[in-house]
Amino acid sequence: MKDEREIVTVTIDGIEMQAPKGELLIRVAQDNGTFVPRFCWHERMKPVGMCRMCLVEVEGVRGMPPACTTTVTDGMVVNTKSETVKKAQDGVLEFLLINHPLDCPVCDRGGECPLQDQTLAFGPGESRYVEEKRHFEKPIPISELVLLDRERCIQCSRCTRFADEIAGDRLIDFGERGGEMQVITYPDDPFTSYFSGNTVQVCPVGALTAKPYRFRARPWDLSAVETSCQTCSVGCRGSLESSSNELVRLLGVDVEPVNHGWLCDKGRFGYEATHAEDRARNPMIRRDGSLVECSWPEALDAAAEGIKRSLDLHGPASIAMVGGSRGTNEDAYLWARLAKGVIGTDNVDAQIGDGLPAEVVLGLPGATIPDLDEAAAIILLGPDLKEELPVLYLRVRRACVDLGVPILDVSAVDHGLSKYASATIRHLPGEQASAAREISAALAPLIDGRSGPIVVVLGRSDVATSAEPTVAAAAIIREIPNTRFLVALRRGNVRGAIDLGLAPGFLPGRVTLDAGAERFVAAWGSAPAEVGLDTAGIFNAASEGRIGALILVGADIVNDFPDRRLVRAGVGGAGFVICINATVTEAAADADVFLPATVWGEKAGTTTNLEGRISRVGRKIAAVGNPMPDFRIASELALRLGTDFDLETVEEIQDEIARVAPAFAEVDAQLLKRARDGVVLPLALHRDELVLEPRRIPVIDFSWEPIKPEGPGEFEVVEFEVVEPVLEADASDEAAAEEESALPVDISNGAGLPDAQLFVWSAQHAAQPTPGRDNYALRLSAGRSLYDNGRTVASTPALRALIPAQTLRVNPSEISRVGVADGESVRVSTARGSLVLSLTGDANVPAGVAVMPFNIGETGVGDLVDVSLVVTDLRLETLR
């Protein structure tokens, strides 16, 4: 956001500094190299002045104001290092330490603790307090994930403020205010926020600890790498840390355009899935009806042989590839090149029947996450962001609550952001198009003279309704002037996979088969001419025996695809099945060849988030056993099919992408390495957002007054620094940036290749009518819940317990209509099948609608949905 505030001059410790008027003194000091110690102040939260650690002297002001609540004015003269300030800091620290147990040797925070560090740098070194300290039972769990040690707490209120201001889940608060003040939860109402892990990260002492990390490592034993979370498609930046080749934690890193330092708990703790017991460690082939372990050459030969046989007998259209949205961009590109350039098939789809057609994803004018902050209004027409894209929920909530951007909520049922909406359009699942026609009229009073774009968060709100109604709604909304779209797809790198050609009808770099034909024939030797099938089409064809070889890349396809019967028929009907995955999933168990893949944390590369922002993914540990990264598996298969990609490293693949994929022009390995906050595609439209310098906190003076203990011996001067976790990649980046900062970004990429037109969605969409609902049926809305049976959660011990119980939620009036008690089981039948489910009344569910999250329980939504239908209507019968 542009800062239009007047610039004033402030003098801090004798040095003149320029700062925008009204900025907080503590921030101005920090940005200019003077660290004022603090505990309660956090850059992303409102100042409260609770800890008193940042007291400074301001000339002409009586007493000592806290730097975190004082704003700068012109001519202000501040002293942060005088004797008086030093005395105040000594006093504050002595008070803070009165009740602090000083159990640093057994405390998880010891070694990276702001209280420890600042006591060393600014504290008195000794306490006069000899009385008994305050005692509490320690530690007590405040949720399944977080434990609270009240003795260590210094009452800075960072955690309670985070829960209230940032997450909007005020499930923790201060209680027993006074001498016994402590953080409390309500009895039987634990801190079940999806964002609870952030309170552990912002806690300036070891009062809050996360169950998965407790006693696992000491900070000085950890090594870290900069990475991007791939749990969902927000792509939060983080620091991934390991000890003894084992991932132990992920910390959020503050990146202005994306996550502001926050992570959701699924992303934060999901690394545990990497070490799951059931990871496949060796390749397997089917022998005498069962999968047996074998060597890589054997497995690769068998896989290539299966592909070749189908190719020779039935041609390239008999081969299909599904998946690939969980890997890196480099993986996706080589899978696309293998399928489209080597095999020659366009039956390729990274989405698993629960997203939107690639035309819509690629062809709508894109918005960025920061656009939310400056939007005239935000239209929500898609999934429950709190459940599916949690950190995007935080950003939308912030835009609304802190920045006053109005929200227009277009939804079938209440969701995490409904309570913040200024206006709501309710529709039956499947009636998105008619709801979209009401948007213009509803929007006008909200905008009310506000400037800025209208940001539309568009996606599939549930998997029981086909993409059709959402596509129709998108065609209508696109006609509203000044709209930009954030397409809310869910899987980690689904956007990157689509951008790199893992979608029917497209080649890498956002070009259609036609537009890119000449270019890719020149680069690859060949490219498919006929538009292929999407995932549902592939499974339909396979179930009819028209797919000779099916390549499944990642994904637990049987549980992830909305229609379980179709996917089972498809996998069963395919002639030859090759499965590339980290574990032997249900579909993998039926495969002819199984190839074990490395996962997030075990391979480097880049990922693309839902904005189209490419950012780096780091490799932190070596995979145990023999899994290979996807891009190598694709290269090996290509080699056996007669094409040598001749690409050995991730950087070489990145350079090839920049050269051949039109939307990736200029985005080569060098730029990806330097771009601090990632690169938003296409670069031509987002060039001014590029930040090529690493984040540097200037330091004027490292030589704080050292502690001088009485008695013999002298301490050395302690060099003290409180910054975000130091990332390995930053260090090398810095060196690289210094070397290269003089060089302009290389724009010679792609020279010699024909031009290709980036795809723009121009088809006039004729909305197909959604079938009506008869009065005896309920329409199913099957969104996702953050914790489901997906692999990340199911393989993470800390999260597994949080999967909610399966129940069908309906309006209480429906329960009485059926004539059962709340919680009683009923038979639920659709055109596809029937199940026995418990029924729960919920007044927030509109009459006529039934709500059940996807992929919860052994059987569920997947057994009720027929993907050939637009909507899923169900009937309820009593079992009595």
Binding site: D169, R170, L171, D173, E176, R177, I184, Y186, D189
Partner: protein
């Protein structure tokens, strides 16, 4: 226990009085305590629902005030001061005597409190926030017995008029 129908009407009226509904936490807590004898967890949950905050926030606010009792108390809450002046004048002896005397009496709850601002006639105590001064263990017992016998009329446990109002 949930608000009775009459108290629910009154509670809604209280909520409507404030421009920010959150301001109604304290008067609603008084109302609930007067109704149930102490502030129950159900009541705090109900209050939270009425004004759109979390139960943790209601508990966080109410736990600051010692006048809100979060455990069951007797009809008579006796607060005995043991701060400096009362300490010198025999407050602790009064407290000890009453604690022993009423240890198994469900009708009477004895608590130790900080200064009641009645140092002039120490030691002092309050019975449901009604002052009684210049006490001895014997006279304190007599006063409590008088309340129990109905010779003295006690206020509500929140200090309001017995059985009603919001304190």
């Amino acid at each position: 226990m949930a608000f009775t129908p009459e108290n629910l009407l009154l509670a809604n009226e209280i909520v409507a009085r404030y421009p920010k509904t959150k301001s109604a936490i304290l008067p609603l807590a008084h109302l609930a305590q007067d109704q149930d004898g102490y502030l129950t967890q159900d009541a705090m949950r109900e209050i939270a629902g009425m004004i759109g905050v979390t139960p943790a926030e209601v508990l966080g606010t109410c736990s600051f005030y010692t006048m809100f009792k979060r455990d069951e108390v007797g009809r008579l809450v006796v607060s005995v001061c043991t701060n400096v002046t009362c300490l010198v004048m025999g407050g602790p002896e009064v407290l000890e005597h009453l604690e022993q005397r009423y240890a198994s009496d469900k009708e009477v709850t004895i608590e130790e409190v900080e200064c009641l601002a009645a140092c002039g006639n120490a030691p002092a105590m309050q019975v449901n926030y009604e002052f009684h001064e210049s006490l001895t263990p014997g006279s304190a017992t007599e006063i409590i017995e008088a309340y129990k016998a109905g010779e003295l009329t006690a206020r509500g446990v929140s200090g309001g008029v017995a059985g009603g109002g919001q304190g």
